[in-house]
Amino acid sequence: MNVQVTLSDGPLGVSSSSASRTVDVGAVLVFEGIVRADEGGRTLRGLRYEAYEPMTTTMLRTIAEQVGAAHEALAIDVEHSVGDVPVGQCSFRLTVCAGHRKEALAAADDFIDRMKRDVPLWKVPVWAQAMENEAH
């Protein structure tokens, strides 16, 4: 199985995934996480992502390899932002190539669960109104 992990500064641009499309690939799933404006009723300007390298990349790769093997995926590409990502922009992109749909969907779901639990990646809210807290 082919795994690629890329951390890049700021929002992710259009898909640069070169996930290998071998003759066995019957399903390609691309999942994008977009920064939303609303966070518990307050309005965000964006999120600032912090990584802890090299552990972040190592963990993303390890999880991709484990999840990919468990679900018989053929390739997994992981792209994640570090630093500031404004609302409406893409901070995370997961590309899974598999033989069939069920494998691709299950691999994506498991990968994201494990990423959110185990990968040293933090998001710090950047509020639209920095003074809002004091005004309340």
Binding site: E50, Y52, M55, K116, V119, P120, L121, W122, V124
Partner: protein
């Protein structure tokens, strides 16, 4: 320390005095005493030594980088 925890405590790194032999658990205890408002978080925190998750009984050696991997959430 990272993310909102680092923001809340106003720092990314902190020095703590721990009697030897130093273990992961001794470090988290010391952090809990230093930040009593976050004592529970530090007592239960997952710790990485030199970029790998460690167990409470693992030894911490001089020069090791100890990281608190809590409140994560990529995506």
């Amino acid at each position: 320390m990272f993310g909102t925890l680092a923001q809340e405590l106003g720092r990314h790194a902190v020095a703590v005095d721990v009697p030897s032999p130093v273990t992961v658990q001794a470090v988290t205890h010391a952090l809990a005493r230093l930040f009593p408002a976050r004592a529970t978080l530090f007592e239960q925190a997952r710790i990485a030594i030199n970029s790998a998750f460690a167990q409470p009984d693992d030894a911490v050696h001089p020069g090791d980088e100890v990281a608190v991997i809590e409140l994560v959430g990529g995506g």
